[in-house]
Each structure stands twice: as structure tokens, then as C-alpha cells.
């Protein structure tokens, strides 16, 4: 590969994102086991190792793995309680599911040669739509037509309210878009940049020290991004949930 790129700077930063069948073949049916399946499966296994096997001893004085699991539990539990309020606590497993999937997919995607499932808009948009639909349905189920009161800013002057309502409605429907593109875009961009630098490293010979050091630096940044984006995705989910549960409006 390096040989190809010295002759001609032939960088394919997007090749890493191609969805491939695991066991050969060209056609990808909805049920075909692909690299998506593999890395999502690994995420599930890591989650089980961390939260099920790690806590199997149920000790009062936790082992290291158990304290990591407890920390994650406490972190998300507090987030749900603080952001959505006391009524939101029953959606904690749902939020925890999203967080565990996103954070593990982000981090596992950073393993060299791994496939980052959260770099695909198919995945992030599905997650975002899941949140959007569940929040909307839950909102109407909990508050009935009163859920629409969210768009009617009663603290604003009466003249401005229709305008604000329009803006609020547009921003409400833009939520899943920003929610998904923020996560997918960040992950995709980071991985693509690393790949571009890797291409340079193959092409520059001795001077490739520079791109390699850059890769190390960007990798550190990407670790941060992986965790922060998972955090942002989760806290936004909590913020949207608060609207549905009927906590304090604006």
C-alpha cells in the first residue's frame, strides 16, 4: 500500500467507511453479516464484559472493573436525574442503552483497522430518529395536546409568539438532523483526517515522522472527541426527554 502511495499520492480516506460483507459476496442484503455486525457485536461484548461480568461479584468494596461500571451507571443516572428531573428517572435504561452504544462504538472505532459504526449517518440518524420519535410520542402521551404548548412561548410578548412558535417548530424538527450529523460528522472527520495523515506518512519517507507525530496527537484528540460526542449525544437526549416528560419549559 505504501508502495502505491509513494509512486502516486493515492489516499483513500473514505475507504475505511465502506460496509463490506464479512464472508465474501458482493450483495448486501439487510440481514447480511457485515463489518457493521462485527463491530456492533464487539461493542455488545465489551458492554457485557464491563457491566455484567465486571459486576458479577456484587462486592460492597468494588473491584476496578466494577467501579468503572458503577461510575458509568452513576454518571448517566445523575445526568438523567439532573436534566430530565425526577419523573425522567424511569427512562434511565433507555438513555443508558444509547450512551453505552455510542461511547463504545466511538472508542472501538478508534482501534486501528477497526470499523467505526457511529461514523455512518445510517446509524446516527437512526439513533437520532429513535430519540426524536420517542420524545414526540412520549410528549403527546404524557401531556396530550398540551405538549404543543412547548412551542408557544408564553413569556414572550403576544405579538412575537407566532413568530417564535414557527422558529421553535423548525428548531424542533431540525433536532434529529443536528443530533445525528454532530455525532456522525465528528467521528467521520476525525477518522478521515487520521487516514489522510497516514497517507502522507506513507509518501514522505524520512519526513514521515511529522505526520506520524500528528497522527499521535490527533488520536489523543479523537479519544476525547469520542467520549465528548457520546456525552453530548446523551445529554441532548436527556434535554429532549425533559420536554416530553413535562419539566420546566423554557
Amino acid at each position: 500500500m505504501a508502495g502505491e502511495e509513494t509512486s502516486k499520492l493515492n489516499i483513500h480516506p473514505m475507504e475505511q467507511f465502506i460496509v463490506k460483507p464479512l464472508f465474501g459476496g458482493d450483495t448486501i442484503h439487510w440481514y447480511t453479516p457485515t463489518n457493521v455486525t462485527l463491530w456492533m457485536g464487539i461493542a455488545v461484548l465489551v458492554m457485557i464484559a464491563l457491566l455484567v461480568l465486571g459486576t458479577s461479584r456484587r462486592s460492597i468494596i468494588p473491584s476496578r472493573l466494577q467501579s468503572v461500571g458503577e461510575m458509568l451507571y452513576g454518571f448517566i443516572h445523575n445526568m438523567v436525574e439532573e436534566v430530565t428531573g425526577h419523573d425522567g428517572i424511569k427512562y434511565f435504561p433507555y438513555v443508558m442503552t444509547l450512551f453505552m452504544f455510542v461511547v463504545l462504538a466511538n472508542l472501538l472505532g478508534l482501534i486501528p483497522m477497526a470499523f467505526a459504526t457511529t461514523s455512518h449517518f445510517a446509524v446516527t440518524a437512526t439513533l437520532a430518529m429513535l430519540v426524536f420519535l420517542s420524545v414526540t410520542i412520549l410528549g403527546f402521551a404524557k401531556q396530550g395536546i398540551g405538549f404543543l404548548g412547548m412551542f408557544w412561548v408564553s413569556s414572550a410578548p403576544l405579538v412575537l409568539r407566532p413568530v417564535l412558535a414557527l422558529i421553535e417548530i423548525i428548531s424542533y424538527f431540525v433536532r434529529p438532523l443536528s443530533h445525528s450529523i454532530r455525532l456522525g460528522g465528528n467521528v467521520m472527520a476525525g477518522h478521515a483526517v487520521i487516514k489522510v495523515f497516514a497517507g502522507f506518512a506513507g509518501a514522505l519517507g524520512v519526513a514521515s515522522v511529522v505526520p506520524i507525530l500528528s497522527i499521535a496527537a490527533i488520536y489523543g484528540l479523537e479519544l476525547l472527541v469520542a467520549v465528548v460526542q457520546a456525552y453530548v449525544f446523551t445529554i441532548l437526549t436527556c434535554v429532549y426527554l425533559r420536554d416530553a416528560v413535562g419539566g420546566a419549559h423554557h
Binding site: 473514505m14 460496509v19 457485536g41 457491566l51 455484567v52 458503577e70 442503552t97 452504544f101 445510517a122 467521520m188
Partner: protein, 180 residues
């Protein structure tokens, strides 16, 4: 090398032609969404059935243990304070008792002492009276004896001087002398 390069370019071009970004290759969307759904369902089930109740229970148990321990510690502290108070009370009471005992003992001793002194005084007084009586007796005895001796002496002297011993006058003279 050239062939592989051209092949790579060709495949790249093919991809670019077909989809541009792999993220926008809609042919793979059903596959990704299906496996994502499977993954999320598995994670949700594992979390709700096993992991979250277990961790929640462990955390609750721990906080329960800590609360119980703190309560027990508080109880022990209360007990210690109580014990100290009881000890102090007992000490004060014992001191009072001791003071009372000392006072009553003192009073008893004083009473005994007073009694003994009174008795001694009475004894002494009795003895003194007795002694006085004895002394008076002795004195009287001595006076009689002296009178006798004086009479005898005076008679002898009178006889020796050749006088006639008149008993009556001698007694009178002696009595007069003794009186003076």
C-alpha cells in the same frame, strides 16, 4: 505496481461513481439499521434484565451499609455520652454520700467526745468533792490532833514549870491560841 495502482484508482473511481461517500451508499442502510436495531435491543435487554438492577442493588446496598454504619456509630457515640454522664452522676452522688458519711461520722464522734468529756468532768467533779471531803476530814483530824498535842504539851509544860495543870484553863487557852 502500476496495475495495482490503476486498480485501486479504478475501484476508488468506481466507488466514487457509485456512491461518493460510503456514508451515502443507501444500499447499505437497511443492513446497518437492522444490525443497529439488533444491537440496541440486545444492549437494552442486557442492561434492564441484568446489569442495571445489579449495579443499582450494589450501590443501594453500599449506601445502606454506610448509612447503617453511620447510624451505629452515632448510637455508640450517644451511648458513650450517656455512659459518661452516668459516670459523672455516680461520681457526684458518691462524693455527696461520702461528704454525708464524713459529716455524720464527725457528728457521732463529736457526740461521743462530748459525752466522754461530760463524763470525765462529772468524774473529776465527783473526785474533787470526795477529795475535798477527805481533805476537810484530814484537816479536822489534824486540828484535833494539834489541839490534843498542844493541850498535852501545854500541860506538861505547866507541870514541868511547877504549876498546877488546870485542864479547863489549858483547853481554853489552847482554843484561844488556835483560834487566833
Amino acid at each position: 505496481m502500476a496495475t495495482t495502482a490503476t486498480e485501486a484508482v479504478a475501484t476508488g473511481a468506481e466507488h466514487a461513481e457509485k456512491t461518493g461517500l460510503p456514508q451515502l451508499d443507501f444500499a447499505t442502510f437497511p443492513n446497518q439499521i437492522f444490525w443497529l436495531a439488533v444491537t440496541l435491543v440486545i444492549i437494552y435487554l442486557v442492561l434492564t434484565r441484568v446489569a442495571l438492577p445489579r449495579i443499582g442493588a450494589v450501590l443501594a446496598e453500599r449506601s445502606g451499609t454506610i448509612t447503617n454504619d453511620l447510624a451505629a456509630a452515632e448510637e455508640f457515640k450517644q451511648k458513650a455520652v450517656q455512659a459518661e454522664r452516668a459516670y459523672n452522676d455516680a461520681l457526684t452522688m458518691a462524693r455527696g454520700e461520702a461528704a454525708k458519711i464524713v459529716a455524720s461520722a464527725k457528728a457521732d464522734i463529736q457526740k461521743d467526745l462530748d459525752k466522754a468529756i461530760a463524763k470525765a468532768d462529772a468524774d473529776i467533779a465527783a473526785k474533787a468533792v470526795e477529795s475535798e471531803a477527805k481533805i476537810t476530814e484530814i484537816k479536822a483530824g489534824a486540828l484535833d490532833a494539834i489541839t490534843e498535842v498542844a493541850k498535852d504539851t501545854a500541860r506538861e509544860l505547866v507541870i514541868a514549870l511547877g504549876g498546877k495543870a488546870d485542864a479547863k484553863s489549858i483547853t481554853a487557852a489552847v482554843a484561844a491560841r488556835l483560834k487566833g
